[in-house]
Symmetry: C2
């Protein structure tokens, strides 16, 4: 039996292996400076942080440790969003049944210290984020630990931080919405057959066709994300070839990272439920 | 800094990622029943056993645990030879400087109990092995733990077992020869530049061109292994395309597994010496 940490690590590895996954690094496609091997090293490096989540350490510091370990490779940000999604799911699975209700309970228990650790984690790796709305500059995540006094003044827990970002970041939306799409992705992965990376790739395109990817909204804009959603739909409808779409997205540096993170979360839930590899 | 166990796990992952690696599973090629994902799960599953080697547990039981964990996937034997090579190297790196002399010292300290655990490990997974020579049937590894009374009667340590197999198995030859080819592979990997899996693939073909792969000798015969060696040489000489060779070998089910194991060992040594990923 694989442990919870092993399932989390395997989920990260299976996610990056699935191909085609238009716009993201996979085993057939990579960028010159962000390659498949960086995702392997990121998954291996994240493990000690995930172990902390299993051991019942506070979510924030477990996440920060996972990011610090993930960042020990030359590719930069490989799995920040995936680990943000996985950390509470790992803590949930390690402490009892892995259900949306229990995961929600774990999110609700987060503290201001967890929020502080989350902000510190941005000091370990360069993550693409949007400018904050007017008046929220003191809480810009790019300020890292400089934002911590403001967090403490306002008594903001990590859950509260996620709630503020839920409308612009679908990983934050998962945190405050019972991880609905990750559990849904797990259902879909389990409902299909064949090699697991192929199933992950199919579910990736399905999720991409359903909602604009918030990482694309951040790095490009909302119009691009909506266009990507329609193009993914065209793949499902048999009107576009997924491999061609992958080439187009890579050329335009369009990277549906949030959708990949959701698939990693879905793979973890499916593995915990007994998905065979 | 990655730990010794993390470097061992990453070495396994980088090894299987390198392509082309004619005849072996890599990120571009797989068999229907032995796929890339099985190697990912094998590497993740082996970790607790490698941790035991780091903790200074006896080599035999660390190896047996690594194999038991590796085998928890549907593909069968993915990394038996690679783990047999890595376990003493991991124990060496965890306890001091990683040198051929120290690795040799660790091998010389193995006991009959280590040999017994090695035999038990064959009960966890189906490994291709040759019939034993006449008179050595009681020590056929396929007998698993049934061979243990004979080991005890004859006082055979794991080193002694490896010494008996060194002329027909190049992993056993590494054990009793100061891990010469693994350290040599590390030198070559470190002497080149570029993406690490590409360097691993190049070194794989170089090693394959130098000696008949003993796993091919076991599964097919010595003539086939010699022919494979010449064909690998032709790739280095620019007379054959490596990708074409990969297709030919896969069709003929020719699998230079020992050479892949040596590359995994080389990657581990290189990572321990600071190879950047």
């Amino acid at each position: 039996m694989r442990t919870v940490t092993q399932n989390a690590e395997l989920a990260l590895l299976l996610e990056v292996t699935g191909t085609p996954k238009p716009g993201n690094v996979d085993r057939d496609r990579e960028y010159d400076d962000l390659r498949f091997e960086h995702f392997l090293a990121g998954a291996v490096g994240a493990r000690p942080g995930l172990e902390l989540a299993v051991a019942g350490d506070p979510l924030g510091s477990a996440f920060e440790q996972a990011i610090e370990g993930m960042a020990e490779q030359q590719g930069g940000n490989t799995q920040f969003g995936a680990l943000l999604l996985l950390t509470p799911l790992v803590a949930t699975a390690a402490s009892g049944e892995l259900t949306p209700e229990r995961a929600d309970g774990i999110v609700r228990k987060t503290t201001v210290d967890d929020a502080a650790a989350f902000y510190r984690s941005f000091e370990h790796v360069d993550v693409a984020v949007d400018d904050p709305p007017d008046g929220l500059e003191p809480l810009d995540v790019r300020r890292g630990s400089d934002a911590i006094p403001t967090l403490r003044e306002r008594g903001l827990t990590l859950e509260a931080i996620m709630r503020r970002s839920a409308d612009i970041d679908d990983i934050a939306a998962e945190w405050v919405g019972g991880f609905e799409r990750a559990f849904d992705a797990a259902d879909r992965i389990q409902a299909t057959e064949g090699p697991v990376p192929d199933r992950a790739s199919t579910v990736f395109i399905e999720l991409l066709a359903e909602r604009p990817d918030t990482f694309i909204v951040t790095r490009q804009d909302s119009e691009t994300a909506t266009d990507v959603m329609h193009r993914a739909r065209a793949v499902l409808d048999g009107e576009t070839d997924a491999d061609e779409l992958a080439e187009t997205f890579m050329q335009r540096d369009i990277n549906p990272g949030t959708t990949a993170d959701l698939v990693a979360g879905g793979l973890f839930v499916a593995l915990e439920r007994g998905l065979d590899v």
